[in-house]
Amino acid sequence: MTEGLALIAPWLIAAGVGFFLTGALGLWRFPDAYARLHALTKADNLGLGLLCLGLACQAASLSAALKLLLVWGLVLVASSIGATLIASTALARGLRPVTRRGSRRGARRGARRGSRDS
């Protein structure tokens, strides 16, 4: 069992690093703050999850493994709430999302609605 876990751990860690790299690539390539938040909340969280899972497979005790998974859970909750806070603040301050056709009308409408709600 332990040997099996030790065998899959490097693969999980390598996959986690891969997702972190694609998250960084998304952060660089995506067109605006909203799209970049997708890269940070999805690819990076999945990367961290795989990394923590890989490290948990190599942990010395069950409590240490649980602690690593707890780190992932807390980061999931924090990044999800943080992403919404950043996105809603950006919209309320009039930062418009870039749409495929370059139209920003929808965003202006959303920003107006957002400021009306708050």
């Binding site: 998304g26 799209a35 938040l37 997708h38 999805k42 409590s63 996105a87 999302p97 495929r100």
Partner: protein
């Protein structure tokens, strides 16, 4: 509510077991002389979570919902990774409104707003009393349907099937 009833709701076995598990993980299974008072004080002072407001038997449904949430998070990560690695970046981003259909106001809506940030291609931008404003990374005709399905699944944890219909 009397003091005894208040303490009984705060010191429920489920809450104490959860906090004990947390202490066991954080302290490496040691220092229970410190752990027991910390667990008791934390249980008494911690506010009631959204989990404790689920309807009866919905806790099991919530546990069954967790693998689905993990699966959606996995798909979300893979989708963003694939989009970021495309040689030509062809995104169809949009800001859409998702009007609330069946989810009652309260922790269920907060849970859905948070979960949307982890599932493929969607990001909560604003949580309003009548709708959710969602930023979609790659809009497809099926996106609004997926959001409605997710809302219905989460609503099942909070209201009965009869109330849903």
């Amino acid at each position: 509510m009397s003091n005894v009833a208040w303490a009984a709701t705060r010191l429920s076995p489920l809450r104490l077991a959860g906090l004990a598990l947390l202490w066991w993980a954080l302290a490496g299974g040691n220092a229970w002389a410190w752990g027991v008072p910390v667990i008791l004080v934390t249980a008494l002072t911690m506010p009631r979570s959204g989990l404790s407001r689920l309807r009866p038997l919905a806790f099991l449904a919530f546990l069954a919902f967790c693998p689905l949430a993990l699966w959606l998070a996995l798909r979300g990560g893979v989708q963003v990774a694939l989009l970021a690695c495309r040689p030509r970046l062809t995104l169809n981003t949009a800001l859409i409104d998702h009007p609330w259909h069946c989810l009652p106001e309260g922790p269920g809506r907060l849970f859905m707003a948070s979960l949307i940030n982890l599932i493929p291609g969607t990001l909560t931008v604003r949580l309003a009393p009548d709708r959710l404003v969602v930023h979609v990374l790659h809009l497809t005709p099926a996106t609004p349907r997926h959001l409605a399905t997710l809302e219905r699944r989460i609503a099942r944890l909070h209201v009965t099937e009869k109330e849903l219909d």
